[in-house]
Amino acid sequence: NAGVTQTPKFRVLKTGQSMTLLCAQDMNHEYMYWYRQDPGMGLRLIHYSVGEGTTAKGEVPDGYNVSRLKKQNFLLGLESAAPSQTSVYFCASSPTGFTDTQYFGPGTRLTVL
């Protein structure tokens, strides 16, 4: 049981490049989330999904897109990376909504030059 995994672990991009971060969970959870963590700002929700084929905006969605084509996967895309998107990105999943425990992946450290 791997839990929540994230690919890649590290990435360096140049401004304007695009990339996709992959999150996978093997716990059959309905809900999945993407957060970014910046020093002194805690975790901020980018997008989330309440089930296969659904997505919704979180607190800081601008510059990101997501897709949940399969229940176990939640993809985060950056179409044109900017230095302000330099951050550590965490994916999480939970069986149900906000009253339930969230399980986090190990994170992806992204640097945009």
């Binding site: 929540v4 809900y31 989330y33 957060y35 002194g40 700002m41 805690g42 975790l43 901020r44 929700l45 989330y48 309440v50 919704a56 979180g58 965490f90 999480a92 909504g97 906000f98 009253t99 425990t101 969230q102 399980y103 986090f104 992946g105 190990p106 994170g107």
Partner: protein, 112 residues
């Protein structure tokens, strides 16, 4: 607006002493409160949660938290700190949607 605050950026405590990491919240309805811990270069791990019921909630690794409705607080506590407890601690509030609002985190340093 619903929010959670962690008033201390860092807490220092000597090993063996009791520790407290503070959290206060603001919510219009019933609060759903969580504590998570993050060790260096790792993802967040769940410690405990308050949904309803007893005001004293027990969690993993000997941690507990006390829900105080009148003071709108949910402080994390441990009777005897270990060096291995040194980490970043996050309080989180479940809102009326589907996600959690996280505090900015408190860095706990336990010295030998």
């Amino acid at each position: 607006a619903q929010s959670v605050a962690q008033p201390e950026d860092q807490v220092n405590v000597a090993e063996g002493n009791p520790l407290t990491v503070k959290c206060t919240y603001s919510v219009s309805g019933n609060p759903y409160l969580f504590w998570y811990v993050q060790y260096p270069n790792r993802g967040l791990q769940f410690l405990l949660k308050y949904i309803t019921g007893d005001n004293l909630v027990k969690g993993s690794y000997g941690f507990e938290a006390e829900f105080n409705k009148s003071q709108t607080s949910f402080h994390l506590k441990k009777p005897s700190a270990l060096v291995s407890d040194s980490a970043l601690y996050f309080c989180a509030l479940g809102d009326s949607g589907y996600a959690l609002n996280f505090g900015k985190g408190t860095s706990l340093l336990v010295t030998p």
